[in-house]
């Protein structure tokens, strides 16, 4: 184990995978400028700067992936993916199916998002659910440096296009990261804290918000389980269902808006497959249906906060007492 931040963990994952497999390459806006260590280790063929042109970066990743390379494309900020949607959604996500399985698209699209840096709505937009809704794609959004490394290695080795979102507020937070062959399989959630009274379900930065809320709830005598989804597609249904069958109550927390978001999907899943175990309606605590603000005060109000989650947890349990369950 060694202590490093998420950016360093990603760098380690990239270096290890590029060392392991000569087909892995990385390109994007400033990749060769910012990742000098990779450039020196693997040369300008495999570590490339690109024009500021997200459409062709994504299309090039898809074309290269389908013909034998395993690209990692850095598109910087998630809202820039709007220019890259055709390459990701129409090409990488669909051409395997539409060709009757003739092609594979082993590629990773890396982008940052999330509040905390006051960059405003055209650099911060949690659009991860858009890609969950698109067939053929996988979606990852880690919360710890260890997961940034392990999930990136798994994403590079996967034969499908993987959207890898970095919550930018987590980029410089240190954490313990295992050395060497540390793989976190796609599609496996992590139980960050065990509990019995209610389940807090989240991913990325708000996992830490949920852990803080769980601390607060413990002070009130309530035991909250905290689940970190890690991969949004495929979703780890088994871990979610097992937890909610145990606790009977669930709160989903994410910074992305509520409408048609991951929380809505989790609510539907629990309603469809664990209805009998639910003691209370599912609660969602999310960012508002508004563009992400840049003012510090507004941005803090935009992001889910521990106190609101803890209060919602208390309300859920008290509701039980009121209705006599």
């Amino acid at each position: 184990m060694s202590l490093m931040n998420a950016h360093e963990a990603l760098g380690q994952a990239l270096a290890e995978e590029m060392q392991r497999d000569s087909r892995v390459l990385m390109f994007g806006e400033g990749v060769a400028t910012k990742r000098k260590d990779l450039l020196e280790a693997f040369g300008p063929q495999r570590v490339r700067n690109t024009p500021l042109a997200e459409g062709i970066i994504a299309g090039t990743a898809a074309g290269a992936a389908a013909t034998g390379l395993r690209p990692v494309a850095d598109l910087l900020f998630a809202p820039f993916l709007c220019f890259a949607m055709d390459g990701i959604v129409n090409s990488a996500g669909k051409l395997r199916y539409m060709s009757g399985g003739q092609f594979e698209f082993p590629m990773v699209i890396l982008a940052m998002t999330g509040g905390g840096w006051t960059v405003g709505a055209q650099h911060n937009h949690n659009i991860e659910a858009w890609f969950v809704h698109s067939p053929g794609l996988k979606v990852v959004m880690p919360s710890t440096p260890a997961d940034f490394k392990g999930l990136m290695k798994a994403a590079i080795r996967d034969d499908n296009p993987v959207l890898f979102f970095m919550d930018m507020a987590l980029g410089f937070e240190p954490g313990e990261v295992p050395e060497g062959e540390w793989i976190v399989p796609l599609g496996q959630a992590a139980i960050r804290r065990e509990g019995t009274d209610l389940t807090l379900i989240s991913y990325a930065k708000t996992v830490h918000t949920c852990l803080a809320a769980a601390d607060a709830l413990a002070g009130q005598g309530l035991s909250a389980e905290v689940i970190d989804l890690r991969t949004l597609k495929p979703l780890d249904e088994a871990t979610l269902l097992a937890s909610v069958r145990k606790t009977g109550r669930a709160i989903v927390v994410h910074e992305a808006g509520a409408l048609c978001g991951v929380g809505a999907e989790v609510a539907a899943l629990l309603s469809e497959k664990a209805f009998d175990a639910l003691k209370a309606p599912l609660v969602r605590i999310t960012g508002p249906d508004a563009p992400a603000p840049s003012s510090y005060a507004l941005e803090q109000a935009f992001m889910p906060q521990p106190a609101a989650i803890a209060q919602a947890g208390l309300d859920l349990v008290q509701r039980d007492a009121l209705v006599g369950r």
């Binding site: 495999r46 459409g55 389908a66 013909t67």
Partner: protein, 324 residues
Amino acid sequence: MSPAMSSASPAPSRLDLLAAMLRIRAYEERIVAFHDEGPFPHVCTSVGQEAAAVGVVSALRPDDQILTNHRSAGHLLARGADPGRLLAEVMGRSTGYCKGKSGTLHISAKELGVILTSTIVGGELSLAPGVALSRSMLGGEGIVVCFFGDGAACEGIFHESLNLASVWNLPVLYVCENNQWQAFVHRKETMTGDHVGPWAAAYGMDHLTVDGNDVEAVLEAATCAAAQVRQTRRPFLLEASTYRQRGHMEPHDQSYVDPAEIEAWLAKDPIDRLSARLLDAGELTPQGLEALRLQAREAMNAAAAFAQASPFPDPSELTTDVYA
């Protein structure tokens, strides 16, 4: 190997070129006939553009790769595709090149090097540099040919693609089939100037505009262009000036097209022009021409029979091939 694929060396005869164009025409006419008979999937035919397809594809080698678009039958047939499997794909049958999961618009045939067909106008332009990057990094002498139209040239991705291919020195032969129409809009409404070829100069890229209805001229230009790309590993833009003789898609509708324009271009029909040349030169008799036409029609009737007799995919195929 198909005759077309092996034809890069030695060069195909003029009769070969004619026969290849007649096959494409007969294929598209068979689809038109299907539409006359009753409901049939929408198809974007390449009638009138056969010389561009045959001329370019005849200049390629087996290890070259082709990216094409929604108007792809000419490229596929010129590359040696089985018309039965093409029609089966159009009709959504399991014997099609994509197991019936593509339909007419997105047919890829990896075994022929016709890959990643996208019907998003400009999609082929977005994918070509990545395919060429694989060729560059994984070795081999093959080049990548990207067919697109004047409509795609007006997409922003045209600029991004040619710019990247140039700054990264990628072996892409861009082939713009300028057929004068962008779906339902004439290119005069959407472009400054008549030609796309000169736009390559902005990317430091060589270019050539050729009479796209003269198959011999296209073959000669494409042979030179492909050789340059092969040798320099740099991109090249070849524009074939041609004409879409039918509406954007079947069922046919050209009510929005000036009849004088259609008449002028029909007088330059690529098949008629080569036929006249061969008849004048004594290389072909009227009877010989009729025999070639009949042969092509019979081949397409057999292809149609194969497709019609082919089964639809099993419903269990609905969710297969989504993930690798």
